[in-house]
């Protein structure tokens, strides 16, 4: 079985400061890891993914995430937060097995960026 843990329900950060949203995962075999963002009354918007290769992946809106295999983590980061980054962030994992594409999501972390 695969699972994702997002240990923080909410992260508060001041505008201009760096932000980190934490994610750890469990999956059989190699993981494919994803971050999605959800704005109020909107769907899940893809931010970035790790499939293979470079452990640091860059995505939309200046976000990046670092894959750490030994710690089974995939934390989302941004060097300088914007008020407009305030939203609900979901980490998701799936196995690299070709026949199984189901994503397992974490419970989400609400990011609040204060002006």
């Amino acid at each position: 079985a695969q699972s994702v843990a997002q240990p923080e329900d909410q992260v508060n950060v001041a505008e201009g400061n760096p932000l980190t949203v934490k994610c750890t995962y469990s999956v059989s075999g190699n993981p494919y890891l994803f971050w999605y963002v959800q704005y109020p009354n909107r769907g899940l918007q893809f931010l970035l993914k790790y499939i293979t290769g470079d452990n640091l992946v860059k995505g939309s809106y200046g976000f990046e995430a670092e894959f750490n295999k030994s710690q089974t983590s995939f934390h989302l980061k941004k060097p300088s937060a914007l008020v407009s980054d305030s939203a609900l962030y979901f980490c998701a994992v799936r196995t690299a097995h070709t026949g199984r594409r189901a994503l397992t999501f974490g419970s989400g972390t609400r990011l609040q960026v204060q002006p």
Binding site: G43, L44, Q45, F46, K49, F90, R101, F105
Partner: protein, 115 residues
Amino acid sequence: EPEVTQTPSHQVTQMGQEVILRCVPISNHLYFYWYRQILGQKVEFLVSFYNNEISEKSEIFDDQFSVERPDGSNFTLKIRSTKLEDSAMYFCASSDTSGTQETQYFGPGTRLLVL
């Protein structure tokens, strides 16, 4: 930029009634998915669909659920006899078939309320 669309945005129904939720996936995508999110809970995988058949389903996707691709553009989720616990946000997603690394793109969701 192509998007997944879903209709209706909101649906209210009486317990025991049938509902059909509709989705138009991104046009060149061949994998389709349904997920749901009960209020305050995680996003959960229901089913994936490829080449006119179910390729994977979760334990949630029991006999009261069915999916169909009735034409070249729509993808539907039918709940035959709704229960109170079916109240949730239902998300449709689609992905292409570029290897197995494809990203799932989500629609805005249909909020279903069963009374």
